[in-house]
Every structure is written in structure tokens, then in C-alpha cells.
Symmetry: D3
């Protein structure tokens, strides 16, 4: 198999600042492998810290969006941006959170056809507009979310996740970041157990 | 799980003409399930027959494109068209032919990042232009394929597959054809054996 | 006059399988000339047979769309795809069926400005969406056709014709198929009679 | 036949200023009918005078572009803008100047497939870029015209005609200007003679 | 500072026809400098005369659009076309007419975010559609302007200004016309007085 | 003057965590006003901290891009995204860094026409591709920057700034963030002094 070389070398773990290395080791211990994004961004510790601080502020925040819904936003907008890394890595996380082995391809390819309720389709329609035509967002876009129970704070969350992955997708595309092989199968097997 | 209803009912097997039913039964026996496209198109036997005759003429033809390469064309252009059915169904076939559990997401999301050689990237660039901007194809597009060893007949095959799935994607999108659940996992497990 | 060479040679009639040659001869006898599409596709008899079987299944089918309406779909979507062959050849057929020497340029250039009733504009709006953005078709697009009396089966026909010519346009564009000179004047002269 | 109503009434000839009416009468005498554009724009005599002064400055100017080449620019860019009036009216003039009954559909639908030499294709490629993406014109676009013998003044002419019809197409589209029926057949019959 | 050379030399004032030179001198006396567009277009006196006659017919016409509103249309559509000259030159005029030092960047960058009332946003939405997608204008676009009090004649004015600057933007882009340095600061200082 | 209400209230300074408030106060003291982005994002301290940490990591980093070049990337890509806040606020900073009162409109409207050397145009071409079509970045885009002396690390910086402002633009567009009036005039007056 030919493997398309990604751009920029991964950081050498032993040369990293302690906090950066510790985060990477923690991920390794929890997941069994280190997602490439950690090793790639670690080349620049300040950007690494800001990136994951931002990620955590949005994705770990307790709010009315479920963990799965947050990942749906990531997967749908990453598909629109042609970002292989994020589609594959977050597709895996989405399958796990939703306990649904089919959901990632559905949301990445065309969320209108996904097996999700109208609330989540409305959420993704807004996220996609933030991702692809944010200059044209208007009050009507906010109004379209109200009947589904989304508050102003929820809408901020939806848009902010789409905005953060606009950044993330562009970085991954620029440096040709290759998703770890492990992601492709995660969350696909119904009997799969996390120890 | 909410399932988005697809449009148009599937045909009742017993009401179909013999040749149509026989093809469906044969697929069922070989694959263990009937891909939805057979049951949806069978509603109109003449279109069914023409569709599969065309499909077979292109996809079963012996030529210098491998079976996997033909499926790459299907998966890449179906991704560009936002066709969930074809991405998922042909993604499964692509994984099987290439014996590569990672290839489908790669080609569907962004073939430029796929683990494929330059020859196949050039092939997909041409196929994508046929799929999305065929009116602007010019001699230079043909010339770009020559250094990779593609003959005029090969190029016809590449373009014709992209053209046929332009039809197929539009039908599937229009009728909201939902891919069978079975496709999602096919070809992902290394130990998988076809008896 | 410089004539832009089309790609791929036409088939030699005498070398063709009987059924293919017979169809071509029949067209020649009926029309007085052989439209280039027959000679170009005949290079590959299996594709030829499937192409025309599909064409006939859709275009000769008796349903609530008139022959002229079917050709309007072809001409409008072929214009959007920049397909010279189909605009010119099917423009001629459209003029003849509609007994309207003005209709082809109108529909090919901008159907919104054509001298056609609201029903046909709605039909073409749906066909154009199938042709150019099929991934975004949703229930509202179906609903927009109901007030004009289109049934689900009619809508299938509209979309399927747009889908089939998505294939046809791409083939003609790829091989640079040049329309026969005869098409340009057909159906333009009010006194014209078909014997 | 349903006729799509165009917007804005035509001017009453007797109420027009003398110079405007005289130009219209002169056209009527020369062509045998009054192209709608004269009657529509005459509603506003100052705009009428400026429009035709500009038109004449560009289209009647003696330079290295032939009359037919100027009309090719009009027809190609009007096709790209979906302007039915200009495609049909200037398509007729193009056929007459080029003594070629096939040229209008070719250039309006896809100039890349037209029976024209490389010089004219290069000319139209530049005109189309002025028409559709003028902000991205760069020195390389000028350089691409040099091998075909176009001077800086010629390039000004090409671009200025494309620019003027950017205006004209938008006016015709906005007011839904319907081309006179007479245009459709003009220049199509080889035996046609202008007295 | 590197200055990007614009294309085509400016005309020599003394070599120009009297009427053209006199207009330029008059502008010089009124404004204190000669906007480049006068010197560039003067190379071709007939086009110069037609261009400014058209400009004056639209921009000096007394109607229900204020002078500032007319300039808003110019600035918004010129921004969409990436025309630096018109954004800067007409941005200055817009600031002066509106006595608003902030308005030009707002309208040029994204009129939806500008500090203008709903009437002017509706006006600009129509103008932008004429500028960028005139072939799709339909009755609904006219209807959207009625509640804001725009008559058919007003709408003609809005569309005609957008159409004229479609021409103007394309000329300026083609010849890489550089805005005079003076424009950038005009109308920005609240105490600024015109003697 | 009608002011378009921006969405989401600004944070109350006294209710903010100390570190957030201190940063805001420091900006106030240095600039004489508080750019709205600080008050808007402070509603969510964690996102505020991550946003400005990321901003500082990229924009304050010592590397081969000048401060002005970094701001050019911001202004050009923000123009492409229709982000009024970033065009105006960073346009001001760009004028100050470059000591060039004309540069902001040039870069925001069409960097191809800006008074900048070829090196900076190449830099902006890459940044714009990251901003608008990152999925299509390929090795040739990197190669185009080499002759201008950009290293791999420089290219990371260019792309990362474009990526970060893809996030920033989307947030500002979503919440309709209005630029402070002060920004519009900053850096325009040659005699302007920073005490």
C-alpha cells in the first residue's frame, strides 16, 4: 500500500515540555494509541496548549447539547471541508457516543439523509451555514432553531464548535494529517466494550 | 433511533417479472441480503433492466482498470455528489476488492489524501472533473492521464463510470435511498473471509 | 470553417453487431440521417444497448408528462451542463413535439424566461435541482410540485430524466460529441411537414 | 402558448424625443422590425442614448476584431449570464456576420466545443473571465492572448465588450426582456439574402 | 512601497478632444484631483463620453433614491466583484453623502452588518442579486421590495445602477485601475468641510 | 443612524474572573478603548482564554513573517469571509504596522491589486486557499512559496493564521460583532503619533 506522506514531522515525545508530554501520555493510556493530531501540534507547544484548551472548553462543556450532538457538528462540517482526519477521528468518537455504528458515514456524507431527528438536522443546518457561508447568517437562521428548543447559549455552542473545527480542518488539510488506522473500526462492532 | 423515511416504497418481490426477481434472488443468495437499490428500482422493470445492464457493461468489463479502481471512481464521485447510498454501498465493495479497510473513507472524503499511488489520483482527478464540471474538459485533461499509462479506451472507462454514477447518485438522492445496514461493516475486519 | 475534432472515432457500421446496426439503420430511415450519438456509442455495443434501453424506458414511457415536457427537461438540464450535443439535438426534438420554433433556445438559456406555464416552470425547477444539487433535495421540493398536479410517479419521471441526461451530458462532453448539422434547423420552419 | 410577461411596458413611440424615435424608426426600416431592447430602454431617453452610444463605440469600432468575433463575445458571455434576449438577438447577428447557421448555439452553449479556431477560443476564454471572475484577472491572462496576435488594444476591446454586455445582460434579465420572434430564424437559411 | 502597475497608460491631457478635456479639468477644479477613471477612459473618447453619460443618467437622476443610497449600491456590488477602484472611490463619495465615516467599509464588506435600516438592506439584497445572479431574478424579488415603498421605477434605478457598475467594475479590474490616494481619507474626519 | 444590533450581550466587567478582567483593563489602558471582541468573548472565560492564547501564539510569535504580513493574512481572509469586525479591526492594525494608510482596503478588497511585492501576493494566495478551499491544497501550493524564501515553518505560520481567523471570522459573523468606531480612522493620518 502506498501511503501518502503527510507534511511536517511528528514531534519527538522526549523533547516536549512536560505538560504537553503528559497530556499525550494520558491520551495514550486511555485510548491505547496517540491520535496523530497530538503529535503533530506538539511541534509547537503554545499552539498545542491553546488548541486543546479551546477544544476542551467547547467539547467538554456541560450544556444542553449531548456529547454525540457535538461530535455530529464536527463530523458534518469536516465532511464539507474535505478534512479526512476529522471525519475519521471524530466519526469514531461519534459512533461511540451515539452507540450507533452507522451514524458517522451518514453525517459526514449528507446529514439530510442521516437517521437523526428533525432537531439534529436543524442543528446541523445551522452549523453547516457557519462552516460554509457565515457571512450570510441572519436572524432567520436563529429563528429556525427556536422551535427545536435551542437557546441562545445552545446556538453559541453549535456555532462555536463549527467555527473551531473550521480552524482544525484547515490545519489538518494544510499539513495533510493522516488519521490513525485505529479510528476506522472504533465503535463499529456492537459487542465492543470499553474496559 | 429515528430512521429517515426514504421515498417510494420497495417493490413486492412476488409481483415482479421473473427476470427481475431472479436477479434479486441471485444477489440475495450471493450477498446474504438484497441491496436496497435492487428493490427500489424494481418498481419499474424496464428501468431496472437498463440500469443493471449499463452497470454491468461498465463495472464487469475486463479492461486495464482493476475492479478496485472502478469502485474508487464510484466512491469519490458519489462523495462529491453527497450520495449516501453509493458512498456506503460501493465503499464496502471497494474495501473488499482492495482488501483495505481504510480506503473507503479516504476516497469518499478527499481522494487527494488517500493512500493511493499517483496513477490513481490522476484517474480520480479526471473522474471528478467528469462528475462536477464536464463542460470544461479539454485535451489537457486527457494529456494529464497519458504519463500514467491510460489509453483512450481506459479514459472512456473512467469517464463513463463517473457518468453512470452521476445518474445513479441523482436517483438515490431523489428517492432518499437508504443504504442497507450490512454495508457499513463489510470489508473492515481483516480476518473476514468470503466463502 | 474550422471544425473542432471530437474525440473517439465513430464506429464502422458494417463491423457492428446486427441489433446495433439495425437500430442505426432504422433511425437513418426514419430521420434521414444518423445522429452522432448512435455512431459514437456503438463502439461499445453493450453500453449502446443499455443506453438506449434506458433512454427508451424513460422517454417513450406513457405517463402524464407530454413528449414535449420530457424534452424540456433534457434541454434545460443539458444547458446547465454545457452539453452542446444534447442542447442542439434535443432542442430540435423539443421544437418538433411542441410545434414551437422558439422553445429550444428559451429552455436551454433560461427556463425562467421561457413561454411556458407555471406547471412546466415548476417541473424544470425540480429537474434542475436534480441535475445540479441532488444532495440537497428535500421534502419541500416534492411539495412544490403537488399544486401543479404532479404525482409521485410523475416526479420520479422528472427526476429520472434529469438523472439519465446527467449521464448522457457527461459522456457527450467527455468525448466532445459534435451535433449533426441537420439538427439546428429542424422544427424551425412553420411549414415543415413530416411525411 | 403561454407567454411570460416581461416587466415594464414598452414606450409609446409618439411620446419619445425626436432623436430616440428616429433611431428606432431607422432600425425598423433596416431590419423590418424593432428589436425590443429599443422600445424598452426608450422609456428613459438619457439611458437609451448612453446605452446605444456605448454599444456603437464598441461594436462599430474598426479594429482587428471582426464583426463576427465581437458578436461571439456577446453570445458567449450572455449564455454564461443566462440572458435569453442577448443570446437570441445577438445569436442571430452572429449567424449573419459569420454566414454560419450553426455558430450561435455552439458559442452560447459551450464555446469550447464550437467550430472556431484556437485564436477565437482564447479570445472567448478571456471574455468569459471578464464576465464571470474579473477580480482574478492577472498578467497571465494577457499573456495567454499574445501568441494569437492580440494587441493591448485588442484585449481592451475584448474585455470592454464583455463588460458592456455584463450591463446589458443584467438589464435584460431584470426587466425580463423577451426577444422578438423574428430573431430565432435569422441567418439560419443558407439561401437567405439581405436585399 | 511597491506599487502594482496598472495596465494601459493614462491619456495625455493635451491630446484629448476639447469636451473630454474640459470635463476632466472641471473635475480637477471641483475635487482638487483627477480621479484615475477619467484619465484611463479618456484614451478612447467615444467610450469616455458614453460611460459618463450613462453614469450621469443614473447617478444624477432625481428620484426617490437618495444620493447616498445610490452610492451604497455601487459600493456593495463593487465589493462583491472585488473591484478595488470602485470600492475606494465610491466609498469616499458614500461617506461624504451620508456624513458617516464608517459606512463604506460596512457596505463593502458585508451590507448585512451595516448600520442601515431594513429598507436599505432590502435595496442592497436586490442590487446584489442583479450583480451576481441576474438570471435568477423573479417576481418574488420585486415583491420583497414593495413593503419598503419602492416603486417599479425605483427598482429599475436600483437594478440599473448595479448593472452599470457591473460594467465599470469589470473595466477597472481588467485594466487594474488604481484608486487615487486621495480617496482613502475623504469623508472620514468629522470636521471636514467642503468649501 | 440605525445601528444593527449585534447578537449576545457584552459581559459585565465586574463579574469577570480576575485574569480576564485584567487583560481587558490592560488593553483599555494601552489602546484607549476596549475592542468589542474582548467583551463579547469574555462571556465565556474558558473560550476567552483559549482564543487569546491561540491568537498570541500565532500573532506574537517571532518568526520570518513581519507583524504587518501577519495582519495582511488576517485582513485578506476576513474580507473573503465577509467578516466586518476583523476587516475593520485588523485593517487598523495593519495600517499602523505597515505605516501605510492605504493598505487595508487594498488587501481586504482584492489583494491582487494591492501595493505589495510578489512575495506577499504569493503569501496571500496560499492563505486564501487555506481559508476558502483547504481540502485542495497540494504540494504545488507549497512549491509556489519556495522561490519567495518561505520555509516550511513560515508556511505553517501563514496557514495557521488563516485557519485561526477562519474560526474568528465565523464567531464574529455568527454573533454579529460590531467593530468599535475607533478602528475606522486608526492609522490613516500620517502625522498620527502613538504616545
Amino acid at each position: 500500500m502506498v501511503q501518502t506522506a503527510d507534511r511536517y514531522q511528528v514531534a519527538a515525545l522526549e523533547a516536549l515540555p512536560d505538560d504537553v508530554r503528559e497530556r499525550i501520555v494520558a491520551v495514550q493510556e486511555k485510548s491505547g494509541f496517540v491520535p496523530t493530531v497530538f503529535l503533530k501540534l506538539a511541534r509547537r507547544p503554545d499552539e498545542f496548549r491553546a488548541f486543546f484548551a479551546y477544544h476542551d472548553a467547547l467539547m467538554l462543556r456541560e450544556n444542553s447539547l449531548s456529547k454525540g450532538e457535538k461530535e455530529m457538528i464536527v463530523v458534518a462540517t469536516s465532511g464539507a471541508n474535505g478534512c479526512l482526519y476529522c471525519v475519521v477521528a471524530h466519526g469514531a468518537i461519534l459512533r461511540i457516543y451515539e452507540k450507533n455504528p452507522l451514524i458517522a458515514e451518514q453525517v459526514a456524507t449528507n446529514y439530510r439523509k442521516a437517521d437523526i431527528p428533525a432537531r439534529q438536522k436543524a442543528m446541523l443546518a445551522f452549523a453547516m451555514k457557519v462552516a460554509t457561508a457565515s457571512g450570510t447568517i441572519e436572524d432567520a437562521d436563529f429563528e429556525a432553531l427556536r422551535p427545536h428548543g435551542f437557546s441562545d447559549e445552545d446556538i453559541w455552542d453549535i456555532g462555536a464548535i463549527a467555527a473551531f473545527f473550521a480552524l482544525s480542518n484547515r490545519m489538518a488539510n494544510m499539513i495533510a494529517m493522516r488519521p490513525n488506522d485505529e479510528f476506522y473500526l472504533l465503535g463499529r462492532l456492537p459487542r465492543e466494550k470499553k474496559a
